[in-house]
């Protein structure tokens, strides 16, 4: 039984595609209120692991415990209902919908309205819609989007799209937020803004954050703990300092020769 303050605990999670084992016996735990990063070279299985946690993939083996619930193999709607949300590596907004609508879609699991109520426009329905809309506006402001609520999501610049995606995820009221390379494609000042936002999410809203990140500066700067993946397996875990000094990690990133050169 993991410690109750662990919000997520995976045990020996295995995900295979045919003969390829994309994630192999991944076990780790995230404490509530932590900013946690998974790093690793391209193709290390990080995104696959994310997809397995968030329910898009069913793991072949292992268990995933989220906030006291077993969620491995559960459909994403169940997992979202338990207050987990995510973003995508290659931003996946609903481009033909407005920014507000995107965020309202994120709130899907939190809206109690039925279709019957919607057709008859009951008081409860209207109230809920109004509340959801103003909450969407709050979220937009929170992530730093102003005056774009009625724009089509696809028409926004790249950095703003990233923010919309985070706002959309926040609309589902997550306790745990999975961010897949949230600063990819950003310039240094933008990623600094993003880091600021992640810290605020944790400090103001108490959201635990699990990051996949390539940008070492970001990772070392923001994370409290780091897990390193390579070839689908966990090869190291620890604080940023420990990871930076770990020869296996350097080897995975830079190759054997470089690792030898650095330790020499």
């Amino acid at each position: 039984m993991p410690d109750p303050v662990d919000i997520l605990a995976t045990t020996n999670v295995v995900k295979r595609f045919g003969g390829l084992t994309a994630v192999n016996k991944m076990s780790f735990t995230i404490r509530q209120g932590c900013i946690y990063s998974i790093i690793g070279p391209n193709g290390a299985g990080k995104t696959t692991f994310f997809n397995t946690i968030s329910g898009l993939y069913k793991p072949e083996e292992g268990s995933i415990l989220f906030d006291g619930h077993r969620i491995e193999g559960q459909p994403p709607e169940k997992i979202t209902a338990l207050h987990m949300a995510r973003t995508f590596q290659n931003i996946r907004l609903f481009g033909g919908m407005t920014v507000v609508e995107n965020i309202l879609v994120g709130a899907y699991t939190r809206l109690k309205q039925s279709s019957i109520q919607a057709v008859f426009r009951t008081r409860a329905f209207l109230d809920e819609e109004k509340k959801a809309e103003s909450r969407a506006e709050e979220l937009m402001e929170y992530v730093g989007l102003y005056g774009v609520g009625n724009e089509l999501a696809a028409s926004l610049p790249y950095g703003a799209q990233r923010r919309v995606e985070i706002a959309r995820a926040l609309a589902s009221e997550p306790k745990l937020l999975l961010l897949d390379e949230p600063t990819a494609g950003m310039n240094p000042s933008e990623s600094a803004d993003a880091l600021q936002l992640f810290r605020r999410l944790r400090d103001d809203l108490g959201i635990t954050i699990l990051l996949i990140e390539h940008d070492m500066k970001v990772v070392m700067n923001v994370s409290e703990r780091i897990t390193v993946m390579d070839y689908g397996e966990k090869i190291a875990e620890g604080t940023p300092k420990e990871i930076a000094a770990n020869p296996r990690v350097i080897e995975a990133y830079l190759g054997r020769g470089a690792a030898a050169a650095m330790t020499a």
Binding site: S54, G55, L56, P75, P76, E77, I79, T80, A81, A85, R86, F88, N90, I91, R92, L93, F94, G95, G96, M97, T98, V100, E101, L104, V105, G106, Y108, Q113, S115, A118, V119, R121, F125, E129, E133, E137, E141, Y146, G147, V148, G149, N150, E151, L152, A154, S155, L156, P157, Y158, G159, A160, Q161, A169, S172, G185, M186, N187, S189, E190, D193
Partner: protein, 480 residues
């Protein structure tokens, strides 16, 4: 040059849409249209003016209450009066109403959720055969060979059950929609389209062949007579009392039935419009659009995609079910002929022409296609047949019109019309005549900075599902 014309048009439109102008415009046009049609009931331009007058207020900035009053006047008074004078117009408008409801239903499946359905007429058939079976003598003829009904066979149930059957049609069609929708859970894209085609054809062939072992559908001959709801005493007298001076002569029972069915169709289509609008603007509608835009992302946001897709099939089917019941009663006859693949593609053409996903769009699409089919093509046919009977000829090549083949009857060339519309729309305007626009919300911040937003939102993508769409290219973010 082209841009200049467009700008001029826009200026004119804006001028007409300011102050009192739209009121004069729409009321004047309505009166003009009404008078024109009243005076020359056969003229197509007159009808088009009237149709435009009926549709125009939607696009003008007129007070909602006035719009509503105009709509009620047109729908409840003017159309029945004109229809009583020339029953053909009532038929056109009745068909527009029926096909608008069908197009709205298909639009939920194709437009909102992005699931192509080539067998939509199957649901219409389900509704039509439901009332055709129970509202005729057919239940007593289960063991009779088609065409050998004994004289004096009773009707199975009283005619006024018809009203209940409109609701039953909704339910049964929705259930069939759920069943037909089941493959949706495993299949997507073009394969789903082919499967629905297969289902549609199976339903039609079953209707064609289920005259044995039990004679359920009377086979290719179809079922007739099917009962119409009874008319209470005095209704016609009442109608004539008010409208006879306007119509110019008393309406007969049959004419009044046409008016009645027109009114019922109107009610159904209005209900369909309201339901569509309200569902679209609720979490279900947003979820449908999200699934269409990016199913994986929608799933990851906690949307149960399969449940919603099935729901789309069921709701879409239910509109067709209700209209099917109405169709059976209004024609007093159904046969498998009415539910072919051609018809399904016809409804799809309406949706695509008008604007996939756009509610006013698909209604316009239905109107254009029906008017094209029933009026333009038919009067072209009439014109050709008159030419054939005359001595006219084309001078230089000395071609006498009377030598023109009888087979050349434009009203029979629906496929060509549908086909060309579909190809041209796909190539040049996949979003349709009136593209779907996302609803603008009253937002606090948006109000302040709305003017600085320079993005044209009128064109909400091309409205078609696009799962392979690449993510937006990483542009420099200049807002920071």
């Amino acid at each position: 040059m082209k841009i200049k014309i467009r700008e001029t048009l826009r200026t004119v439109a804006e001028y007409l849409n300011r102050g009192k102008a739209p009121y004069f415009l729409s009321i004047g046009l309505t009166i003009l249209g009404f008078v024109l049609v009243y005076l020359s009931p056969r003229s197509i331009p007159a009808f088009l003016v009237f149709a435009a007058a009926a549709g125009l207020p939607y696009f003008l900035s007129i007070k909602k209450s006035i719009k509503l009053a105009l709509a009620v006047l047109v729908a409840i008074v003017l159309v029945p009066v004109l229809g009583a004078r020339n029953i053909f117009y009532l038929e056109v408008i009745f068909q527009i109403a029926v096909f608008s409801a069908l197009a709205l239903g298909l639009n939920i499946v194709v437009g909102f959720s992005g699931l192509l359905n080539f067998g939509y007429m199957a649901f219409y058939a389900v509704g039509a055969y439901l009332w055709a079976f129970f509202g005729s003598q057919q239940p007593f003829l289960l063991h009779a060979i088609p065409g050998t009904a004994p004289i004096g066979t009773q009707f199975f149930m009283a005619a006024d059950w018809f009203y209940l059957f409109i609701f039953l049609g909704v339910i049964v069609a929705a259930i069939v929609g759920l069943i037909l929708g089941l493959p949706v859970l495993r299949v997507r894209g073009d394969y789903l389209a082919i499967i629905t085609l297969g289902f549609g054809e199976i339903v039609r062939q079953l209707a064609n062949n289920l005259d044995k072992p039990l004679n359920l559908t009377n086979g290719p001959q179809g079922i007739t007579p099917i009962q119409r709801p009874t008319l209470p005493d005095g209704v016609i007298r009442f109608f004539n009392g008010i409208f006879e001076p306007l119509v110019g002569r008393p309406v007969t029972v049959n004419q009044f039935y046409n008016i009645l069915f027109y009114l019922i169709a109107l009610v159904v289509v209005i209900v369909a419009i309201v339901i569509t609008y309200r569902l679209d603007d609720s979490k279900v509608g947003r979820a449908w659009t999200a699934i269409r835009e990016d199913e994986l992302a929608a799933t990851a946001m906690g949307i149960p995609a399969n449940k919603l897709k099935l729901g789309a099939f069921a709701v879409g089917a239910s509109f067709a079910g209700a209209m099917g019941v109405l169709f059976a009663a209004s024609r007093t006859f159904v046969s498998p002929e009415s539910f072919t693949f051609l018809q399904s593609v016809g409804v799809l053409t309406m949706v695509i022409l008008g604007g996939i996903g756009s509610i006013p769009g698909v209604i316009i699409g239905a109107s254009v296609v029906i008017i094209l089919n029933l009026q333009v093509l038919q009067s072209f046919s009439l014109f050709l047949s008159r030419l054939r009977q005359s001595d006219a000829y084309i001078p230089i090549i000395n071609f006498y019109w009377r030598d023109l083949s009888n087979q050349l009857d434009p009203s029979k060339y629906q496929r060509l019309v549908f086909g060309i519309i579909l190809i041209l729309m796909m190539i040049y305007r996949p979003a349709g005549i009136l593209p779907a626009a996302r609803r603008k919300r009253e937002l606090r911040v948006a109000k302040l900075e709305a003017d600085s937003a320079s993005v044209d939102n009128g064109n909400g993508g091309n409205g078609l599902p696009d799962v392979d769409k690449p993510a937006a290219s990483p542009k420099e973010d200049n807002h920071a």
